[in-house]
């Protein structure tokens, strides 16, 4: 339903909004998002499953993103350790650095950095790809040729994103911890075994579960936002860029909101 368009030839009628024009547009957008998500959960269970396309997208989203995300994670591990040292040194507690790194990286930085970088790289790629397909009417052509474009384009990408972001998070976390170890070893001469002993001493199973759940949700968000923005992009080349840009911004915003909510839920569970 397009609120701004009137029927051709008809006398311009004054549109009556439920609330205001802007609020009505937001609610209509939310309804569209809901229908898009509902359609995904409806389509994902039924064949054809498009395994080949899923593998292809996993390769693009996961394997291709690994170097960038690993390098970023490694650097973040070093930088975070180095910047945290003076604060602990004030208390004479530099020996607690591994524990601090562990809590920070496993609980928050690992999943968050992975999701943000993936949102930038993968979200924009999906938005731009689907947007250009929409602009060039390839999606319409698929519908005409009796191929379900939603299943082939959206479900596969969202599934691949949902599966690969947690995997990337595992790599990012490991590489960040190794970066932290490198810095700690350089300054405090801590051995690898002692470092990892302290790392795992500071965390619980809840932290690992929370981190995994978070990365799954982040992956789903990135894939879904990218697909939604690209799949529903407006006509024209401008729409492609807008879809790519909007995918990144919206995905990042939602990731932060989700991080906040999940953290509250996990802390509530931790308190019991």
């Amino acid at each position: 339903m397009d609120l701004d368009k009137n029927k051709p030839g008809a006398a311009p009628a004054r549109r009556r909004y439920v609330t205001t024009r802007r609020l009505d547009r937001i609610f209509v957008e939310l309804a569209k998002v809901y229908r898009f998500n509902a359609r995904f959960f409806k389509e994902v269970w039924f064949p054809p499953y498009e395994f080949r396309e899923i593998i292809k997208q996993c390769y693009e989203i996961g394997v291709r993103s690994l170097p960038l995300i690993s390098l970023t994670g490694f650097i973040i591990g070093i930088v975070f350790t180095n910047q945290s040292r003076p604060s602990l040194a004030d208390f004479g507690a530099t020996s607690l650095l591994p524990a601090l790194i562990s809590v920070a990286i496993i609980r928050a930085i690992g999943p968050l950095v992975t999701a943000l970088i993936a949102a930038g790289r993968v979200g924009s790629a999906i938005g731009a790809e689907l947007g250009s397909m929409r602009v060039t009417e390839q999606i319409d052509a698929m519908e005409v040729s009796a191929t379900n474009p939603f299943k082939f384009l959206v479900v596969t990408r969202v599934l691949a994103s949902t599966l690969m972001i947690p995997a990337l998070t595992m790599f990012t976390t490991l590489v960040s911890l190794l970066g932290g170890y490198l810095n700690v070893h350089q300054n405090e001469l801590t051995s690898l075994s002692v470092f990892f002993y302290q790392v795992f001493d500071a965390i619980t199973f809840l932290d690992i579960i929370a981190s995994s759940v978070k990365s799954v949700i982040f992956g789903f968000t990135i894939g879904m936002v990218g697909c939604y923005k690209g799949y529903n992009s407006s006509k024209g080349t401008e729409g492609v860029g807008k879809a790519a840009n909007s995918s990144v911004v919206t995905a990042m915003f939602l990731i932060f909101i989700e991080e906040l909510l999940i953290m509250q839920v996990i802390n509530t569970i931790r308190a019991f």
């Binding site: 080949r52 593998i55 996961g62 790599f171 976390t173 002993y197 795992f200 619980t204 690992i208």
Partner: protein, 355 residues
Amino acid sequence: MSSADNKRTVIVGIFTFLAIVILVAGIFMLAGQQKRLINTVTLTAIFDDVAGLRTGNNVWFSGVKIGTIKSINLYGDSQVEVVMNVEEKVQQFIRKNASARISSESFIGNKNIVIDGGTQAAAPIEDGDRITAISPLNTDDLMEKLQQNNENLVAITGDFKQLTSRLVKGEGTVGALLTDTTMAQNFRGVVANLQRTSESTVNASRSLSAFTNKLNSPDGLANQLVTDKEVFQQLKNSMTQLEEATASTSEITENLRTATTQLNNSNSAVGVLLNDQKFARQLQSTMQNLETGTEKLDQNMEALQNNFLLRGFFKRQAKEEAKQKEQQQNQPAPKQVQPKDTTQLEFKPSILIEN
């Protein structure tokens, strides 16, 4: 499936496999560290205050991590029950009289429980045993004591500062001692005197020691007094006799008192003689009359001696008296008795008292 697709699938498979390996390895390391993959026994301890201890915190024994806190539950009115999972293999080292106390891994670190193993006399712990809990040291109390110590330290250093300042200025006895040369010389003299005094004291103590040695010698009087039963018996007898003598003296004193009372009584003859003034005047008058009478009698006797009737009698009497004196002068003088030397008498208290 094309070779490119196949290659891509394998790479994705490897990628996913490695991610799963990292996850599983992390889970196993965490489980191993939290002692979740080993057999454990459960111990409980009831604390008044757990000071922020949380589920999952470590349990230490002799500096070795042997388990974790399984659960923390409120118990009774205001106590807390802490349930611990402890490795089964250390069960033999922890005794039933072991105690648990809450400690901290570092000054700002996590809380943990430290188990003291108990004594060898007690049996090893068993699953579900409850061990004694020792209340943790309250950090607030500790800080309060530290603050008090700090205040005391400030006061002490303040006093010490004043003291050293006065010493430097030469105030007071010690200050004068440090700065005044005359005082120092006097002090040296005092020290020398003290030294001499101490030497004299040493000599005196030696003499005293020698004296006490003599007292302790078997032949000495003091030793006999202390050790000889015969002497003690004699002393005892002497004391008994002394008591008897004292009793007799008391009796004599009582008699004297009675006699004195009777003397003071004007009804008796002596009492009248002593106390009655009228009688005294009469007696005095009588005595004067007697004296007068005697003088007159003497004059009469002289008159009788010159009387021719009695003159011969008095002459014969004078001759007999002269004859007796002459006989007495012709008799030899009697021997004088020499007194004994009292210094040679032995010390025998019982004899002395008897005498």
